[in-house]
Structures are given as structure tokens and as C-alpha cells.
């Protein structure tokens, strides 16, 4: 009796399973690359925003004629005594904690310090910047 061996030209179940598994592994690898890239880009955006915002605030502070002149720009009243502190929400989940206080003084004037701590919404610090400005006494 002659036996006829049937040879299928289609993919078998095992072949399909293996090929899908290989595709899935590749896809996971490639997706991981894109996710990592996306995370890094988000970090870059946050750091750039934090840096630029901090520099902007410091420059405003340094161009002012009195230590607490910037307070009105920040939408707050200038303190009558002591230091000034305010948290400002910016974009990209970033907030700026701005503090102005007298750093030191001598016979001719005072040095005021502006500390900026750029934080994530969770409070994690992204970037810190400190600027000093000397205000001479009116003679």
C-alpha cells in the first residue's frame, strides 16, 4: 500500500508561535528604546524650562532697583521685614520656589540674595540657582 505523505506549504502553529514571539521580543526592545528616548526628552524639557525660568527670575531681580521690587511682578506684596518666599507654578509640572533675603551688609549697602529652587510637583529638585545683588544705600 502506498502511503502519501501530505506536505503542507502553509505555516504551522509552531512556526507562527515562534515568529510572533520573535516579533514581540523585537517590538518590546524597540518600544523600550522609544520610551527611554521619550523619558529623556521630557527630562530635557523640564531642565531647560527650569534653567531658563530661573535665569529669567534672577535677571529680573538683578535689574531691579530695590530688593523686593520683583515681588509685584510675582503677584505678591513686598515684605515689610524679613525675607520673601513664594512658590510659583510653571509649565511642564515645574514649580519655582523663590526666596529673597538679605545676605550681608556693610557700611555702604546690603547684598540681597535670591534663591530659586526649581522643583517637580512632587517636590523633587530639578535645578537650583542663586543670585546676589548689591544695593547701595542712598547717599
Amino acid at each position: 500500500m502506498r502511503t502519501t505523505r501530505y506536505q503542507s506549504r502553509d505555516f504551522g502553529v509552531l512556526e507562527i508561535i515562534i515568529s510572533v514571539a520573535i516579533l514581540a521580543a523585537f517590538s518590546v526592545f524597540v518600544l523600550k528604546l522609544f520610551v527611554s528616548a521619550s523619558t529623556d526628552e521630557k527630562k530635557v524639557k523640564q531642565l531647560d524650562l527650569a534653567t531658563n525660568s530661573a535665569v529669567t527670575y534672577i535677571e529680573q531681580f538683578k535689574s531691579s532697583s530695590s530688593p523686593y521690587e520683583i515681588c509685584s511682578t510675582l503677584g505678591a506684596a513686598a515684605p515689610t521685614s524679613g525675607s520673601f518666599k513664594k512658590t510659583i507654578f510653571i509649565d511642564e509640572g515645574i514649580q519655582a520656589v523663590i526666596e529673597i533675603s538679605e545676605d550681608s551688609q556693610n557700611a555702604a549697602g546690603s547684598i540681597y540674595s535670591m534663591n530659586i529652587d526649581m522643583q517637580k510637583a512632587t517636590g523633587e529638585s530639578v535645578y537650583k540657582l542663586n543670585g546676589l545683588k548689591y544695593f547701595g544705600r542712598v547717599k
Binding site: S36, A37, D40, V44, L47, D48, A50, L129, Y134
Partner: protein, 215 residues
């Protein structure tokens, strides 16, 4: 469709995706490093700028100090032969006169006149802003304050005719008003120290009911 085309297609797609993914990752990494460099550069820049501000503050303080020293030297040089003698010789009897004012209307009245004397003395000195600035005494207002004219005529007139109007305020104020003897010292003590400074002599309290006498 040729044999194996799907395999080639899938392979190409996978390779392309992998390449783009790697490119994206490397670009993001480079961006992040650049961003960190920028942040670091800003920190360094403002650190140096802060050092500059501190240097500026120290410089201005040094300049002010040097200017004050120069002013004091010039004033001392200019008035050394005039101010100590004239002013001191006038100041002592005036102080004594005020202090020894007969207690005709009660001790409070004499104390008031004495207080007014020092008040106007200090206000005059504080009002002199520089060389050549004249200062007029509002004797009428003073008379109103103390309720009489005797002090106006004797004390104030003599005092203001003696003090030159061109005394540099910084020189006087440094000695009299901002002297390192604290804010709670009596006017007597301040004037004593002032008189000592301008006269160059130690002044001790006398026993003859005068406020001070030369040692």
C-alpha cells in the same frame, strides 16, 4: 507575491524601527547632556557674578570709608585751628548755662530747656549736608517750643553764631550721632566725646558744678 517577501518586509520594518529607536535615544541623550551643560554653565556664571557683587560691595564700602577719612582729614586740617578753640570755648559755657539755669519754674522747666538745646544742636548738625550749606535757626519755632525767649537769645544765638555753616556733616555726625558709644548714652556724653575729639584734649567732669573742665 514572491516567496519570502513577507519575511523580508517584516525584517526591514523591524530594522528600521530599531535604527530609529536608537537614533531617538542617542539624540535624547545628547540633548540631555547639552541641557545639563547649559544648566551647569548658568550656575558657574552666576557663581562668578555673585563673587563680582561681593567684590563690588566691598569696593564701595572701602571707597566710602576712604572718602570719609579724606573728608575728616580735610575738615580737621581746615578747622583744626579754628573749630576746636572757638567751638569748645563757646560750647562749655553754653552747656553750663543751660544746666545751671535757675530753677524758677521747677526742675522740669530747666530739664526741658536742656533737652531742647541738645535737640537743636543735633538737628542742626544733622541738617548740614556739606560744605557751604547754610542753616537758618527757626528761633520763633524754638521759642514756641520752650515757651520763652531767654534760651533763644542766649543759648541758641551764641551757639549758631559759633558753629560754622560749612562743617562737614559726616565728620560731625560720625563723632556725635554715630559715635561708637551706643544709642543710649546721654547727650552730655556724646557732646563730651565730640568736644574731646575736636579739641584733642581729654575732658573730665569738674567738681565746681561745671559740666566739664579741661584736664
Amino acid at each position: 507575491m514572491a516567496k519570502g517577501f513577507s519575511f523580508v518586509l517584516v525584517t526591514v520594518v523591524m530594522i528600521v524601527m530599531m535604527v530609529f529607536g536608537l537614533l531617538s535615544l542617542s539624540t535624547a541623550g545628547a540633548d540631555f547632556r547639552l541641557s545639563q551643560k547649559n544648566a551647569q554653565a548658568q550656575t558657574i556664571y552666576y557663581g562668578l557674578d555673585n563673587s563680582g557683587e561681593r567684590l563690588r560691595a566691598e569696593s564701595e564700602a572701602a571707597i566710602d570709608f576712604a572718602a570719609a577719612q579724606a573728608d575728616d582729614f580735610m575738615v580737621q586740617k581746615k578747622y583744626y585751628n579754628v573749630l576746636p578753640v572757638n567751638f569748645f570755648s563757646c560750647l562749655l559755657p553754653l552747656v553750663n548755662q543751660v544746666k545751671e539755669t535757675p530753677d524758677t519754674t521747677g526742675a522740669a522747666y530747666a530739664q526741658l530747656k536742656r533737652g531742647v538745646f541738645f535737640f537743636y544742636l543735633e538737628s542742626k548738625l544733622a541738617s548740614i549736608k556739606g560744605y557751604g550749606v547754610s542753616y537758618k535757626v527757626d528761633t520763633a519755632a524754638l521759642a514756641t517750643v520752650i515757651g520763652g525767649t531767654n534760651v533763644k537769645e542766649t543759648v541758641i544765638a551764641s551757639l549758631y553764631s559759633t558753629i560754622t555753616s560749612s562743617i562737614n556733616s559726616r565728620y560731625i555726625l560720625n563723632i556725635l550721632l554715630q559715635c561708637p558709644y551706643g544709642e543710649n548714652v546721654t547727650p552730655d556724653f556724646k557732646v563730651k566725646k565730640w568736644a574731646e575729639a575736636v579739641s584733642g584734649n581729654d575732658i573730665v567732669e569738674g567738681s565746681n558744678n561745671n559740666l566739664w573742665s579741661r584736664k
